[in-house]
Symmetry: C2
DNA sequence: TTGTAAGCGTTATCAC
DNA sequence: GTGATAACGCTTACAA
């Protein structure tokens, strides 16, 4: 068990001052080749690594960013985090992971902790839909000098950069596809009770498609599910009971697709014979069962968010406009929807 | 955009010294009620939060731990990380996430970075199977004063705590189940080329079960797949070609199950009619398709590892024995395996 | 080219 | 009960 060495130990061993060691380590200023070699020698001998905490203290930078998401267990988020970490590592940054379980209180707690830890930047999928929903005393956590990028969801009226998908268009296209196949009794299922802002926008895309095809909207065809996993299956089951006449389901979150499929198995409903189905996000399950799906560019959300964040970190003073990037979705047509007669 | 306040600002506003503010914040020593109130008032007014970097500098503690895994995209790891983060947050710690892509070089790089960042502890699923495999110059990264817990995999001959599953017994039980159903041409598929230590142990459990039932082991029945996703499906396809006579497959990693199922769909093989199948780890896919599975206590691996790590952090001096915790697996029998005649 | 020393924000010991 | 101050390890302006 070796003691951790400091720049002083290196200086002592090399027979120079700490300033000279600093120059060699930091690669700045002028150092003679001879001295440089002595220092490098000493560094290797002692297995010296600079103390990043002390560096951070001086430089006001921790080379660490944080990602705040609902849950890293959600495939959508774990893929995003993976992409973020990839970009971050190449830039010499580490990534802190924070799960909010979609609880606003926890999100606030995390932000306070991150602020205290002097994190360099934050990528967040917030539980707050609008700035007004954030208690005034906590707004400073969102409106401060720390670079921040919102992913998947916008916080309305908050002037921050956003990377998201075309929620509206994705849902519109999927719904229209079902309408064109002859479906009118179309149900949608999304996450959050109340629904996340993302889900709300997707629902409005669904509504607009119905409207454009002269099919009336029925709010009983919409199910928004709470985040507590235990009750989800029961809610889905009740929903199936209430909508015995539905001919198609559009699932608005990947994590719900398996629940719907379980219910179909339980009821002996075949897809697409008894019920047409469209999923959201492409996963192994959808590929194997040949389920038509709204595809998002998940990795790209992560990598763009990370790149944008590093840009903000390196150009802190630039007071430019906040930027909203919207990524295209794509309806991947497989064989889970069938044509029906009206 | 507010400036970040320091303890000095608080002291100035409250009209006391920084020492007194420190006493109030840190809740130690004696402060009169009157002074205390003035300080608390100032703290709230300025929205002051202690700078954790400066605290870390003083206390030699960062209240941050790191988790090093192959890939957070892997459900097995994302569930573990979720469990770890849950425990950590309650203890006031943050969690850094590091993906190694199962590359030894990257693992070393991460460890160096973490050391530099003065991380308080590390939970790692290492790519190294044995201490001897680690270059001598890097062994100090594994044998130092930083608390460390290995998960899922042990590093042989390294004296560290381990939390893992019963790999051997899990594979033994699954194989025996197949043998009892009359299968003898049983294939296994696992991750890593060469296989991870975890997979190697599972394979030896499989071998032992064959031996105990007087079925000879054939190495052509074993497939170990490289981590590059792009080639995996092809390798599985070739493997199916080479083993046209197999009657059962035991999948040793959750992430491979979907690949096997895709291949079966492609070839029109029904489960269990044409081929019996056992998966590893229970996921939505297995539940929906009714696939018999070796269940691990995934969340528990994470929470136990975190609890053990915090114990080590808080009892740094204790030179106790390293501890190996082995969690039971459970064969969850569904309907993906059928009885056959010998 | 090299060394000295101030300062980053906190904690905690020591005086008063 | 309270305040001054050294220390944590590093960076860098300034002096030599």
């Amino acid at each position: 068990m070796k003691e951790i060495k400091t720049i002083k130990d290196v200086a002592a061993l090399a027979g120079v001052s700490v300033a000279t060691v600093g120059r060699v380590i930091g690669n700045y200023g002028h150092v003679s080749q001879k001295t440089r070699n002595k220092v490098i020698q000493a560094v290797q001998e002692l297995n010296y690594y600079p103390n990043a905490i002390a560096q951070g203290m001086r430089n006001h930078s921790t080379k660490t960013i944080a990602v705040i998401v609902g849950s890293i267990k959600n495939n959508f988020f774990s893929e995003i985090v993976y992409a973020i970490e990839r970009v971050a590592r190449k830039q010499g940054y580490n990534v802190l992971i924070c799960n909010t379980h979609e609880k606003e209180k926890l999100e606030i707690q995390h932000l306070e902790m991150l602020r205290s830890k002097q994190i360099d930047g934050i990528i967040i999928a917030s539980s707050f839909a609008r700035k007004q929903d954030i208690a005034v005393k906590y707004r400073y956590l969102y409106e401060n000098e720390i670079p921040m990028v919102c992913i998947d969801r916008n916080i309305m009226d908050l002037d921050r950069d956003v990377i998201e998908s075309e929620h509206f268009e994705g849902a519109y296209e999927a719904t229209e596809y079902l309408l064109q196949l002859g479906h009118e009794k179309i149900c949608v299922i999304g996450m959050g009770q109340p629904p996340t802002s993302t889900v709300r926008i997707r629902i409005s895309g669904y509504e607009k498609a119905l409207e454009d095809h002269q099919v009336s909207f029925d709010k009983n065809r919409v199910l928004c599910i709470d985040y507590e996993e235990t009750v989800a299956q029961e809610e889905i089951s009740d929903f199936f009971d209430r909508n015995g006449d539905m001919t198609a389901i559009l699932v608005l979150n990947n994590s719900l697709c398996s629940g719907v499929l379980k219910e179909m198995v339980k009821r002996g409903l075949k897809c697409p014979d008894n019920l047409s189905l469209i999923g959201w996000d492409d996963e192994a399950l959808n590929q194997i069962l040949n389920i038509t799906t709204v595809e998002q560019q998940i990795s790209k959300i992560g990598s763009l968010a990370a790149e944008r964040l590093f840009y903000l970190i390196e150009n802190r003073e630039s007071k430019g406009e906040h930027m909203v990037t919207t990524l295209k979705t794509h309806l991947l047509i497989r064989s889970s929807c069938k044509k029906i007669d009206r």
